[in-house]
Protein backbone atom coordinates (compact mmCIF):
# COMPACT_ATOMS: atom_id res chain seq x y z
CA UNK A 1 0.00 0.00 0.00
CA UNK A 2 2.64 2.50 1.08
CA UNK A 3 5.15 1.21 -1.46
CA UNK A 4 2.44 1.47 -4.10
CA UNK A 5 1.81 5.11 -3.27
CA UNK A 6 5.54 5.82 -3.21
CA UNK A 7 6.00 4.07 -6.55
CA UNK A 8 3.25 6.17 -8.15
CA UNK A 9 4.80 9.33 -6.71
CA UNK A 10 8.16 8.30 -8.10
CA UNK A 11 6.67 7.69 -11.53
CA UNK A 12 4.99 11.08 -11.42
CA UNK A 13 8.32 12.76 -10.74
CA UNK A 14 10.02 10.65 -13.39
CA UNK A 15 7.44 11.79 -15.93
CA UNK A 16 7.93 15.41 -14.85
CA UNK A 17 11.70 15.03 -15.37
CA UNK A 18 11.19 13.34 -18.74
CA UNK A 19 8.88 16.13 -19.87
CA UNK A 20 11.46 18.67 -18.72
CA UNK A 21 14.07 16.98 -20.89
CA UNK A 22 11.78 16.42 -23.87
CA UNK A 23 10.79 20.11 -24.02
CA UNK A 24 14.16 20.87 -25.55
CA UNK A 25 14.20 17.97 -27.98
CA UNK A 26 13.65 18.82 -31.64
CA UNK A 27 11.38 18.88 -33.50
CA UNK A 28 8.99 20.81 -31.30
CA UNK A 29 5.39 19.83 -32.00
CA UNK A 30 4.20 23.33 -32.76
CA UNK A 31 0.91 22.40 -34.36
CA UNK A 32 -0.11 20.11 -31.53
CA UNK A 33 0.86 22.85 -29.06
CA UNK A 34 -1.32 25.47 -30.77
CA UNK A 35 -4.26 23.08 -30.99
CA UNK A 36 -4.00 22.12 -27.31
CA UNK A 37 -3.49 25.73 -26.25
CA UNK A 38 -6.61 26.74 -28.11
CA UNK A 39 -8.55 23.82 -26.70
CA UNK A 40 -7.56 24.42 -23.07
CA UNK A 41 -8.19 28.16 -23.41
CA UNK A 42 -11.60 27.64 -25.00
CA UNK A 43 -12.87 25.37 -22.25
CA UNK A 44 -11.56 27.48 -19.38
CA UNK A 45 -12.00 31.19 -20.25
CA UNK A 46 -15.73 31.53 -19.75
CA UNK A 47 -16.03 29.46 -16.56
CA UNK A 48 -12.99 31.27 -15.12
CA UNK A 49 -14.54 34.68 -15.71
CA UNK A 50 -17.89 33.57 -14.34
CA UNK A 51 -16.32 32.09 -11.21
CA UNK A 52 -14.03 35.04 -10.54
CA UNK A 53 -16.80 37.70 -10.34
CA UNK A 54 -18.63 36.17 -7.36
CA UNK A 55 -15.31 35.14 -5.81
CA UNK A 56 -14.01 38.72 -5.92
CA UNK A 57 -17.34 39.87 -4.55
CA UNK A 58 -17.26 37.43 -1.64
CA UNK A 59 -13.77 38.52 -0.66
CA UNK A 60 -14.74 42.18 -0.97
CA UNK A 61 -17.84 41.71 1.15
CA UNK A 62 -16.07 39.66 3.78
CA UNK A 63 -13.00 41.87 4.04
CA UNK A 64 -15.21 44.94 3.83
CA UNK A 65 -17.31 43.97 6.82
CA UNK A 66 -14.21 43.01 8.81
CA UNK A 67 -12.39 46.28 8.08
CA UNK A 68 -15.55 48.16 8.96
CA UNK A 69 -15.57 46.52 12.37
CA UNK A 70 -11.90 47.36 12.81
CA UNK A 71 -12.37 50.89 11.58
CA UNK A 72 -9.93 50.46 8.73
CA UNK A 73 -12.41 50.73 5.93
CA UNK A 74 -10.10 52.69 3.68
CA UNK A 75 -7.84 49.65 3.34
CA UNK A 76 -10.57 47.35 2.02
CA UNK A 77 -9.37 47.72 -1.54
CA UNK A 78 -5.75 46.79 -0.88
CA UNK A 79 -6.64 43.82 1.29
CA UNK A 80 -9.14 42.30 -1.10
CA UNK A 81 -6.80 42.87 -4.04
CA UNK A 82 -4.04 41.01 -2.24
CA UNK A 83 -6.37 38.14 -1.49
CA UNK A 84 -7.59 37.98 -5.07
CA UNK A 85 -4.26 38.39 -6.84
CA UNK A 86 -2.14 36.23 -4.58
CA UNK A 87 -4.51 33.45 -3.55
CA UNK A 88 -7.86 33.31 -5.25
CA UNK A 89 -6.79 33.93 -8.81
CA UNK A 90 -4.07 31.25 -9.17
CA UNK A 91 -6.27 28.74 -7.38
CA UNK A 92 -9.33 29.43 -9.52
CA UNK A 93 -7.17 29.15 -12.62
CA UNK A 94 -5.64 25.90 -11.44
CA UNK A 95 -8.96 24.34 -10.49
CA UNK A 96 -10.37 25.18 -13.89
CA UNK A 97 -7.29 24.06 -15.79
CA UNK A 98 -7.36 20.78 -13.88
CA UNK A 99 -11.11 20.33 -13.97
CA UNK A 100 -11.83 21.37 -17.53
CA UNK A 101 -8.51 21.08 -19.39
CA UNK A 102 -6.74 18.38 -17.37
CA UNK A 103 -9.68 16.01 -17.31
CA UNK A 104 -10.02 16.28 -21.09
CA UNK A 105 -6.28 15.72 -21.56
CA UNK A 106 -6.39 12.72 -19.25
CA UNK A 107 -9.42 11.21 -21.01
CA UNK A 108 -7.85 11.77 -24.42
CA UNK A 109 -4.50 10.21 -23.52
CA UNK A 110 -6.21 7.43 -21.57
CA UNK A 111 -8.41 6.34 -24.44
CA UNK A 112 -5.44 6.48 -26.79
CA UNK A 113 -3.48 4.31 -24.39
CA UNK A 114 -6.13 1.61 -24.20
CA UNK A 115 -6.54 1.66 -27.97
CA UNK A 116 -2.79 0.95 -28.10
CA UNK A 117 -2.20 4.12 -30.11
CA UNK A 118 0.62 5.14 -27.80
CA UNK A 119 2.20 1.69 -28.04
CA UNK A 120 1.98 1.96 -31.80
CA UNK A 121 3.69 5.33 -31.62
CA UNK A 122 6.52 3.93 -29.52
CA UNK A 123 6.90 0.99 -31.86
CA UNK A 124 7.35 3.46 -34.70
CA UNK A 125 10.19 5.01 -32.75
CA UNK A 126 8.27 8.17 -31.76
CA UNK A 127 8.21 9.15 -28.11
CA UNK A 128 4.64 9.84 -26.94
CA UNK A 129 6.02 12.08 -24.18
CA UNK A 130 7.76 14.35 -26.65
CA UNK A 131 5.02 14.16 -29.21
CA UNK A 132 1.87 14.40 -27.07
CA UNK A 133 2.62 15.16 -23.43
CA UNK A 134 5.03 18.09 -23.86
CA UNK A 135 2.65 20.21 -25.99
CA UNK A 136 -0.18 19.53 -23.56
CA UNK A 137 1.80 20.43 -20.46
CA UNK A 138 3.15 23.59 -22.09
CA UNK A 139 -0.35 24.54 -23.21
CA UNK A 140 -1.70 24.07 -19.69
CA UNK A 141 1.12 26.25 -18.31
CA UNK A 142 0.68 28.98 -20.92
CA UNK A 143 -3.08 29.15 -20.57
CA UNK A 144 -2.74 29.19 -16.77
CA UNK A 145 -0.44 32.23 -16.85
CA UNK A 146 -2.63 34.18 -19.26
CA UNK A 147 -5.86 33.15 -17.61
CA UNK A 148 -4.45 34.25 -14.27
CA UNK A 149 -4.25 37.82 -15.58
CA UNK A 150 -7.84 37.65 -16.74
CA UNK A 151 -9.13 36.23 -13.47
CA UNK A 152 -7.22 38.84 -11.44
CA UNK A 153 -8.69 41.70 -13.43
CA UNK A 154 -12.24 40.34 -13.41
CA UNK A 155 -11.99 39.47 -9.72
CA UNK A 156 -10.74 42.93 -8.80
CA UNK A 157 -13.47 44.57 -10.87
CA UNK A 158 -16.05 42.40 -9.12
CA UNK A 159 -14.63 43.33 -5.74
CA UNK A 160 -14.56 47.00 -6.67
CA UNK A 161 -18.15 46.93 -7.82
CA UNK A 162 -19.43 45.24 -4.69
CA UNK A 163 -17.37 47.39 -2.33
CA UNK A 164 -18.33 50.67 -3.92
CA UNK A 165 -21.91 49.94 -4.89
CA UNK A 166 -23.12 47.57 -2.19
CA UNK A 167 -21.11 48.61 0.85
CA UNK A 168 -20.86 52.31 0.13
CA UNK A 169 -17.05 52.35 0.03
CA UNK A 170 -15.42 55.29 -1.73
CA UNK A 171 -13.79 54.63 -5.11
CA UNK A 172 -10.81 56.80 -4.23
CA UNK A 173 -10.04 54.94 -1.02
CA UNK A 174 -10.38 51.57 -2.76
CA UNK A 175 -7.94 52.53 -5.48
CA UNK A 176 -5.43 54.37 -3.33
CA UNK A 177 -5.14 51.47 -0.91
CA UNK A 178 -3.91 49.36 -3.86
CA UNK A 179 -0.62 51.13 -3.93
CA UNK A 180 -0.53 51.45 -0.16
CA UNK A 181 -0.59 47.68 0.50
CA UNK A 182 0.01 45.86 -2.78
CA UNK A 183 3.33 45.74 -4.63
CA UNK A 184 4.65 44.30 -7.87
CA UNK A 185 6.13 41.09 -6.39
CA UNK A 186 2.57 40.15 -5.42
CA UNK A 187 1.75 40.01 -9.09
CA UNK A 188 4.95 38.12 -9.91
CA UNK A 189 4.28 35.43 -7.34
CA UNK A 190 0.72 35.16 -8.58
CA UNK A 191 1.90 34.44 -12.11
CA UNK A 192 4.60 32.08 -10.87
CA UNK A 193 1.98 30.16 -8.94
CA UNK A 194 -0.25 29.96 -12.00
CA UNK A 195 2.68 28.66 -14.05
CA UNK A 196 3.54 25.96 -11.53
CA UNK A 197 -0.09 24.97 -10.98
CA UNK A 198 -0.53 24.66 -14.73
CA UNK A 199 2.52 22.40 -14.86
CA UNK A 200 1.20 20.23 -12.04
CA UNK A 201 -2.24 19.96 -13.63
CA UNK A 202 -0.71 19.00 -17.00
CA UNK A 203 1.72 16.46 -15.57
CA UNK A 204 -0.83 14.76 -13.31
CA UNK A 205 -3.37 14.57 -16.12
CA UNK A 206 -0.77 13.11 -18.49
CA UNK A 207 0.51 10.65 -15.89
CA UNK A 208 -2.95 9.30 -15.10
CA UNK A 209 -3.82 9.26 -18.78
CA UNK A 210 -0.72 7.26 -19.71
CA UNK A 211 -1.38 4.64 -17.02
CA UNK A 212 -5.08 3.78 -16.95
CA UNK A 213 -5.89 0.50 -15.29
CA UNK A 214 -7.80 -1.97 -17.42
CA UNK A 215 -10.18 -0.90 -20.14
CA UNK A 216 -12.60 1.97 -20.66
CA UNK A 217 -13.68 2.03 -17.02
CA UNK A 218 -10.04 2.53 -16.10
CA UNK A 219 -9.99 5.71 -18.19
CA UNK A 220 -12.97 7.07 -16.26
CA UNK A 221 -11.27 6.26 -12.98
CA UNK A 222 -8.04 7.83 -14.22
CA UNK A 223 -9.82 11.11 -15.06
CA UNK A 224 -11.41 11.15 -11.64
CA UNK A 225 -8.07 10.45 -9.96
CA UNK A 226 -6.25 13.06 -12.01
CA UNK A 227 -8.63 15.82 -10.89
CA UNK A 228 -8.55 14.77 -7.23
CA UNK A 229 -4.76 14.33 -7.13
CA UNK A 230 -4.24 17.69 -8.83
CA UNK A 231 -6.50 19.45 -6.31
CA UNK A 232 -4.65 17.89 -3.37
CA UNK A 233 -1.27 18.84 -4.77
CA UNK A 234 -2.40 22.36 -5.64
CA UNK A 235 -3.49 23.29 -2.16
CA UNK A 236 -0.36 21.81 -0.64
CA UNK A 237 1.99 23.51 -3.08
CA UNK A 238 0.06 26.76 -2.66
CA UNK A 239 0.57 26.62 1.08
CA UNK A 240 4.30 26.04 0.72
CA UNK A 241 4.71 28.78 -1.87
CA UNK A 242 2.72 31.28 0.19
CA UNK A 243 4.78 30.55 3.29
CA UNK A 244 8.04 30.92 1.38
CA UNK A 245 6.87 34.11 -0.32
CA UNK A 246 5.81 35.76 2.90
CA UNK A 247 9.24 34.90 4.34
CA UNK A 248 11.38 36.24 1.55
CA UNK A 249 9.37 39.24 0.36
CA UNK A 250 8.61 41.68 3.18
CA UNK A 251 5.07 43.10 3.06
CA UNK A 252 4.85 46.70 1.97
CA UNK A 253 4.95 49.14 4.84
CA UNK A 254 5.39 46.23 7.23
Amino acid sequence: MITGALRETGRLFALAAEVGRAVFRRPFQFREFIEQFWFVASVTILPAALVSIPFGAVIALQVGSLTQQLGAQSFTGGASVLAVVQQASPLIVALLIAGAGGSAICADLGSRTIREELDAMEVMGVSPVQRLVVPRVLAAMGVAVLLNGLVSVVGILGGYFFNVVMQGGTPGAYLSSFSALAQLPDLYVSELKALIFGFIAGIVAAHRGLNPRGGPKGVGDAVNQSVVITFLLLFFVNMVMTAVYLRIVPPKGG
Partner: protein, 334 residues
Protein backbone atom coordinates in the same frame (compact mmCIF):
# COMPACT_ATOMS: atom_id res chain seq x y z
CA UNK B 1 17.59 -9.66 -46.17
CA UNK B 2 15.85 -9.81 -42.81
CA UNK B 3 17.59 -9.76 -39.49
CA UNK B 4 17.94 -12.64 -37.08
CA UNK B 5 16.18 -12.25 -33.73
CA UNK B 6 17.79 -14.13 -30.85
CA UNK B 7 15.82 -14.61 -27.64
CA UNK B 8 17.72 -15.93 -24.64
CA UNK B 9 16.19 -17.04 -21.34
CA UNK B 10 13.35 -14.52 -21.35
CA UNK B 11 11.18 -14.49 -18.21
CA UNK B 12 8.24 -12.17 -17.64
CA UNK B 13 5.87 -11.71 -14.71
CA UNK B 14 3.22 -9.17 -13.85
CA UNK B 15 3.51 -8.75 -10.11
CA UNK B 16 3.22 -12.21 -8.58
CA UNK B 17 1.89 -13.79 -11.74
CA UNK B 18 4.46 -15.44 -13.95
CA UNK B 19 3.55 -15.26 -17.65
CA UNK B 20 6.29 -17.46 -19.08
CA UNK B 21 9.82 -18.28 -18.05
CA UNK B 22 13.10 -19.09 -19.69
CA UNK B 23 11.94 -18.74 -23.29
CA UNK B 24 14.85 -19.18 -25.70
CA UNK B 25 14.52 -19.29 -29.47
CA UNK B 26 15.98 -17.86 -32.65
CA UNK B 27 13.87 -16.40 -35.43
CA UNK B 28 16.00 -17.24 -38.48
CA UNK B 29 16.68 -14.28 -40.78
CA UNK B 30 14.08 -13.82 -43.50
CA UNK B 31 11.93 -16.78 -42.51
CA UNK B 32 8.32 -16.81 -41.42
CA UNK B 33 7.65 -18.12 -37.93
CA UNK B 34 4.41 -18.68 -36.08
CA UNK B 35 3.90 -18.67 -32.33
CA UNK B 36 0.89 -20.68 -31.29
CA UNK B 37 -0.75 -20.93 -27.94
CA UNK B 38 -4.16 -21.07 -26.29
CA UNK B 39 -5.72 -17.72 -25.37
CA UNK B 40 -4.12 -16.10 -22.37
CA UNK B 41 -0.70 -17.71 -22.56
CA UNK B 42 1.13 -14.46 -23.10
CA UNK B 43 1.62 -14.51 -26.85
CA UNK B 44 0.99 -10.79 -27.18
CA UNK B 45 3.19 -10.14 -24.17
CA UNK B 46 5.95 -12.08 -25.93
CA UNK B 47 5.55 -9.96 -29.05
CA UNK B 48 5.64 -6.74 -27.07
CA UNK B 49 8.73 -7.94 -25.22
CA UNK B 50 10.56 -8.52 -28.51
CA UNK B 51 10.10 -4.91 -29.48
CA UNK B 52 10.84 -3.51 -26.02
CA UNK B 53 7.37 -2.25 -25.10
CA UNK B 54 7.36 -4.55 -22.09
CA UNK B 55 10.42 -5.30 -20.00
CA UNK B 56 10.96 -8.92 -19.01
CA UNK B 57 12.81 -9.37 -15.71
CA UNK B 58 15.34 -11.82 -17.09
CA UNK B 59 16.88 -12.66 -20.41
CA UNK B 60 17.87 -10.88 -23.60
CA UNK B 61 16.43 -10.15 -27.02
CA UNK B 62 19.29 -9.52 -29.43
CA UNK B 63 18.73 -7.72 -32.71
CA UNK B 64 21.79 -6.50 -34.59
CA UNK B 65 23.69 -6.57 -31.31
CA UNK B 66 21.13 -4.40 -29.48
CA UNK B 67 19.46 -5.96 -26.46
CA UNK B 68 15.84 -4.80 -26.59
CA UNK B 69 15.45 -5.49 -22.87
CA UNK B 70 18.39 -3.76 -21.26
CA UNK B 71 19.91 -1.38 -23.78
CA UNK B 72 19.64 2.40 -23.37
CA UNK B 73 16.33 3.87 -24.57
CA UNK B 74 18.00 5.66 -27.47
CA UNK B 75 19.37 2.40 -28.96
CA UNK B 76 16.00 0.72 -28.52
CA UNK B 77 14.19 3.55 -30.32
CA UNK B 78 16.75 3.39 -33.11
CA UNK B 79 16.38 -0.39 -33.47
CA UNK B 80 12.59 -0.13 -33.52
CA UNK B 81 12.81 1.56 -36.89
CA UNK B 82 13.73 -1.90 -38.27
CA UNK B 83 10.41 -3.26 -37.03
CA UNK B 84 6.91 -3.25 -38.39
CA UNK B 85 4.32 -4.31 -35.83
CA UNK B 86 0.76 -5.08 -36.79
CA UNK B 87 -1.42 -4.68 -33.72
CA UNK B 88 -4.39 -6.87 -32.93
CA UNK B 89 -6.96 -4.21 -33.82
CA UNK B 90 -4.73 -2.02 -35.96
CA UNK B 91 -3.98 0.61 -33.28
CA UNK B 92 -4.53 3.38 -35.80
CA UNK B 93 -4.58 7.00 -34.67
CA UNK B 94 -8.27 7.79 -34.32
CA UNK B 95 -7.91 11.44 -35.26
CA UNK B 96 -6.04 10.85 -38.52
CA UNK B 97 -7.35 9.55 -41.85
CA UNK B 98 -6.06 6.22 -43.13
CA UNK B 99 -3.72 8.04 -45.50
CA UNK B 100 -2.22 10.16 -42.70
CA UNK B 101 -2.00 7.10 -40.47
CA UNK B 102 0.01 5.19 -43.05
CA UNK B 103 2.09 8.26 -43.89
CA UNK B 104 2.89 8.89 -40.22
CA UNK B 105 6.15 6.87 -40.00
CA UNK B 106 7.40 8.40 -43.26
CA UNK B 107 6.72 11.94 -42.08
CA UNK B 108 8.37 11.23 -38.73
CA UNK B 109 11.49 9.43 -39.84
CA UNK B 110 12.26 10.48 -43.38
CA UNK B 111 12.74 13.78 -45.17
CA UNK B 112 10.83 12.67 -48.21
CA UNK B 113 8.81 15.15 -50.25
CA UNK B 114 5.04 15.02 -49.91
CA UNK B 115 4.66 13.74 -53.49
CA UNK B 116 7.08 10.92 -52.75
CA UNK B 117 5.22 10.08 -49.54
CA UNK B 118 1.95 10.03 -51.47
CA UNK B 119 3.40 7.58 -53.98
CA UNK B 120 4.70 5.17 -51.33
CA UNK B 121 1.56 5.31 -49.22
CA UNK B 122 -0.78 4.72 -52.17
CA UNK B 123 1.39 1.79 -53.22
CA UNK B 124 1.02 0.21 -49.78
CA UNK B 125 -2.69 0.97 -49.69
CA UNK B 126 -3.02 -0.89 -52.94
CA UNK B 127 -1.06 -3.88 -51.63
CA UNK B 128 -3.49 -4.33 -48.73
CA UNK B 129 -6.51 -3.63 -50.94
CA UNK B 130 -7.75 -0.41 -49.38
CA UNK B 131 -7.77 1.83 -52.46
CA UNK B 132 -10.61 4.31 -52.22
CA UNK B 133 -10.76 4.22 -48.41
CA UNK B 134 -7.65 6.34 -47.79
CA UNK B 135 -9.65 9.42 -46.78
CA UNK B 136 -11.73 7.64 -44.14
CA UNK B 137 -11.16 7.83 -40.41
CA UNK B 138 -10.40 4.57 -38.54
CA UNK B 139 -13.76 4.81 -36.79
CA UNK B 140 -15.60 4.69 -40.11
CA UNK B 141 -14.26 1.39 -41.42
CA UNK B 142 -14.65 -2.27 -40.46
CA UNK B 143 -12.33 -4.17 -38.16
CA UNK B 144 -10.81 -6.13 -41.03
CA UNK B 145 -10.01 -2.93 -42.90
CA UNK B 146 -8.43 -1.43 -39.79
CA UNK B 147 -6.23 -4.50 -39.52
CA UNK B 148 -5.10 -4.20 -43.11
CA UNK B 149 -4.47 -0.49 -42.67
CA UNK B 150 -2.39 -1.35 -39.60
CA UNK B 151 -0.41 -3.77 -41.75
CA UNK B 152 0.10 -1.11 -44.42
CA UNK B 153 1.41 1.29 -41.79
CA UNK B 154 3.75 -1.39 -40.45
CA UNK B 155 5.13 -1.92 -43.96
CA UNK B 156 5.70 1.66 -45.00
CA UNK B 157 9.26 1.97 -43.73
CA UNK B 158 10.36 -1.27 -45.42
CA UNK B 159 10.89 -3.11 -42.13
CA UNK B 160 13.40 -5.93 -41.78
CA UNK B 161 11.36 -7.60 -39.06
CA UNK B 162 7.57 -7.85 -39.22
CA UNK B 163 5.54 -8.88 -36.20
CA UNK B 164 1.85 -9.67 -36.56
CA UNK B 165 -0.40 -9.94 -33.54
CA UNK B 166 -3.31 -12.26 -34.39
CA UNK B 167 -3.76 -11.16 -37.99
CA UNK B 168 -6.83 -13.38 -38.27
CA UNK B 169 -8.90 -12.32 -35.25
CA UNK B 170 -12.15 -10.78 -36.38
CA UNK B 171 -11.66 -11.81 -40.01
CA UNK B 172 -13.75 -14.31 -41.94
CA UNK B 173 -12.01 -17.46 -43.30
CA UNK B 174 -11.77 -16.06 -46.81
CA UNK B 175 -10.15 -12.82 -45.70
CA UNK B 176 -7.85 -14.82 -43.43
CA UNK B 177 -6.74 -16.86 -46.43
CA UNK B 178 -6.11 -13.66 -48.41
CA UNK B 179 -4.14 -12.25 -45.52
CA UNK B 180 -2.05 -15.43 -45.21
CA UNK B 181 -1.27 -15.18 -48.91
CA UNK B 182 -0.45 -11.49 -48.50
CA UNK B 183 2.04 -12.29 -45.74
CA UNK B 184 3.77 -14.95 -47.85
CA UNK B 185 3.86 -12.59 -50.85
CA UNK B 186 5.36 -9.89 -48.69
CA UNK B 187 8.02 -12.26 -47.51
CA UNK B 188 8.86 -13.11 -51.10
CA UNK B 189 9.07 -9.42 -52.02
CA UNK B 190 11.03 -7.92 -49.13
CA UNK B 191 12.61 -11.00 -47.51
CA UNK B 192 11.87 -9.76 -44.00
CA UNK B 193 11.97 -11.87 -40.85
CA UNK B 194 8.38 -12.44 -39.77
CA UNK B 195 6.74 -13.61 -36.59
CA UNK B 196 3.01 -14.23 -36.51
CA UNK B 197 1.25 -14.76 -33.23
CA UNK B 198 -2.03 -16.57 -33.66
CA UNK B 199 -4.28 -19.40 -32.67
CA UNK B 200 -5.66 -19.86 -36.15
CA UNK B 201 -4.94 -23.40 -37.33
CA UNK B 202 -5.20 -22.53 -41.00
CA UNK B 203 -2.46 -19.92 -40.78
CA UNK B 204 -0.40 -22.23 -38.60
CA UNK B 205 -0.64 -25.09 -41.10
CA UNK B 206 0.06 -23.20 -44.30
CA UNK B 207 2.11 -20.07 -43.69
CA UNK B 208 5.18 -20.60 -41.50
CA UNK B 209 8.63 -22.08 -42.00
CA UNK B 210 8.99 -22.46 -38.25
CA UNK B 211 6.55 -22.93 -35.44
CA UNK B 212 6.56 -22.64 -31.70
CA UNK B 213 3.98 -23.02 -29.00
CA UNK B 214 3.55 -21.38 -25.62
CA UNK B 215 1.72 -23.25 -22.89
CA UNK B 216 1.79 -23.38 -19.12
CA UNK B 217 4.27 -20.55 -18.78
CA UNK B 218 6.74 -22.28 -21.03
CA UNK B 219 7.80 -22.57 -24.63
CA UNK B 220 6.71 -26.11 -25.50
CA UNK B 221 8.81 -26.32 -28.64
CA UNK B 222 10.18 -24.14 -31.37
CA UNK B 223 11.62 -25.37 -34.63
CA UNK B 224 10.88 -26.21 -38.27
CA UNK B 225 7.13 -26.50 -38.89
CA UNK B 226 7.31 -30.27 -39.33
CA UNK B 227 8.53 -30.69 -35.75
CA UNK B 228 5.40 -29.18 -34.27
CA UNK B 229 3.05 -30.60 -36.88
CA UNK B 230 4.25 -34.16 -36.19
CA UNK B 231 4.73 -33.72 -32.48
CA UNK B 232 2.97 -36.26 -30.26
CA UNK B 233 3.14 -33.95 -27.26
CA UNK B 234 -0.43 -34.01 -25.78
CA UNK B 235 -0.73 -30.20 -25.68
CA UNK B 236 0.31 -29.80 -29.28
CA UNK B 237 -1.88 -32.55 -30.65
CA UNK B 238 -4.86 -31.32 -28.65
CA UNK B 239 -4.37 -27.78 -29.91
CA UNK B 240 -3.82 -28.70 -33.54
CA UNK B 241 -6.77 -31.07 -33.43
CA UNK B 242 -8.97 -28.49 -31.73
CA UNK B 243 -10.24 -31.16 -29.30
CA UNK B 244 -11.47 -30.93 -25.72
CA UNK B 245 -9.53 -34.00 -24.59
CA UNK B 246 -6.09 -33.06 -23.41
CA UNK B 247 -4.22 -30.90 -20.94
CA UNK B 248 -5.73 -27.57 -22.09
CA UNK B 249 -8.89 -26.73 -20.15
CA UNK B 250 -11.41 -23.92 -20.33
CA UNK B 251 -9.43 -22.05 -17.75
CA UNK B 252 -5.75 -22.43 -18.43
CA UNK B 253 -5.17 -26.07 -17.44
CA UNK B 254 -7.09 -29.04 -16.15
CA UNK B 255 -6.79 -30.83 -12.86
CA UNK B 256 -5.62 -34.43 -12.53
CA UNK B 257 -9.10 -35.87 -11.84
CA UNK B 258 -10.57 -34.54 -15.09
CA UNK B 259 -7.57 -35.77 -17.01
CA UNK B 260 -7.92 -39.27 -15.50
CA UNK B 261 -11.64 -39.34 -16.36
CA UNK B 262 -10.80 -38.38 -19.93
CA UNK B 263 -8.16 -41.08 -20.19
CA UNK B 264 -10.86 -43.71 -19.75
CA UNK B 265 -13.06 -42.41 -22.51
CA UNK B 266 -10.33 -41.60 -24.96
CA UNK B 267 -11.15 -41.38 -28.64
CA UNK B 268 -8.16 -41.84 -30.91
CA UNK B 269 -7.20 -38.64 -32.68
CA UNK B 270 -7.32 -38.64 -36.45
CA UNK B 271 -3.81 -38.76 -37.92
CA UNK B 272 -2.60 -35.31 -38.87
CA UNK B 273 -1.65 -34.60 -42.45
CA UNK B 274 0.94 -31.97 -43.23
CA UNK B 275 -0.55 -29.50 -45.66
CA UNK B 276 1.93 -28.05 -48.15
CA UNK B 277 3.11 -24.54 -47.42
CA UNK B 278 1.65 -21.60 -49.32
CA UNK B 279 3.69 -20.39 -52.27
CA UNK B 280 4.02 -16.76 -53.37
CA UNK B 281 1.43 -15.66 -55.94
CA UNK B 282 2.38 -16.22 -59.59
CA UNK B 283 4.52 -13.44 -60.96
CA UNK B 284 6.36 -12.79 -57.71
CA UNK B 285 9.99 -13.77 -57.18
CA UNK B 286 10.55 -17.03 -55.24
CA UNK B 287 11.13 -16.67 -51.51
CA UNK B 288 14.83 -16.48 -50.87
CA UNK B 289 14.22 -17.82 -47.38
CA UNK B 290 13.27 -21.23 -48.79
CA UNK B 291 16.78 -22.12 -49.89
CA UNK B 292 18.32 -20.78 -46.69
CA UNK B 293 15.85 -22.72 -44.61
CA UNK B 294 16.46 -25.91 -46.49
CA UNK B 295 20.17 -25.65 -45.89
CA UNK B 296 19.63 -24.83 -42.23
CA UNK B 297 17.12 -27.62 -41.65
CA UNK B 298 19.26 -30.21 -43.44
CA UNK B 299 22.19 -29.28 -41.20
CA UNK B 300 20.15 -29.90 -38.04
CA UNK B 301 18.04 -32.79 -39.30
CA UNK B 302 19.82 -35.42 -37.25
CA UNK B 303 18.90 -33.66 -34.02
CA UNK B 304 15.17 -33.66 -34.80
CA UNK B 305 12.65 -36.32 -33.70
CA UNK B 306 12.22 -39.20 -36.20
CA UNK B 307 8.67 -38.25 -37.20
CA UNK B 308 9.72 -34.71 -38.06
CA UNK B 309 12.79 -36.03 -39.89
CA UNK B 310 10.76 -38.22 -42.22
CA UNK B 311 8.16 -35.46 -42.73
CA UNK B 312 10.87 -32.99 -43.77
CA UNK B 313 12.48 -35.50 -46.14
CA UNK B 314 9.07 -36.23 -47.62
CA UNK B 315 8.29 -32.53 -48.13
CA UNK B 316 11.57 -31.81 -49.82
CA UNK B 317 11.31 -34.94 -51.95
CA UNK B 318 7.85 -33.82 -53.06
CA UNK B 319 9.15 -30.32 -53.81
CA UNK B 320 11.98 -31.76 -55.86
CA UNK B 321 9.55 -33.96 -57.78
CA UNK B 322 7.27 -31.00 -58.43
CA UNK B 323 10.23 -28.94 -59.62
CA UNK B 324 11.31 -31.59 -62.14
CA UNK B 325 7.76 -31.89 -63.41
CA UNK B 326 7.20 -28.16 -63.85
CA UNK B 327 10.66 -27.28 -65.14
CA UNK B 328 10.27 -28.72 -68.70
CA UNK B 329 6.83 -27.11 -68.99
CA UNK B 330 8.25 -23.75 -68.08
CA UNK B 331 11.12 -24.36 -70.50
CA UNK B 332 8.90 -25.23 -73.45
CA UNK B 333 6.69 -22.24 -72.79
CA UNK B 334 9.62 -19.83 -72.94
Amino acid sequence: MGIEVVVEGLTKSFGEQNIWRDVSLTLPAGEVSVMLGPSGTGKTVFLKSLIGLLKPEKGRVLINGVDMVNSPTRDIYETRKLFGLMFQDGALFGSLSLFDNIAFPLREHTRKKESEIRRIVMERIEVVGLLGAEGKLPGEISGGMRKRAGLARALVLDPQIILCDEPDSGLDPVRTAYLSQLLIDLNAQIDATMLIVTHNLDIAATVPDNMGMLFRRELVTFGPREVLLTSDEPVVSQFLGGRREGPIGMSEEKDAATLAAEANSVTPAAPRVIVPQRQPSPGLPPRRAVARRRERVMRMIDTLPPAARSAIRETYARDAAAATVTAPVAGSGA
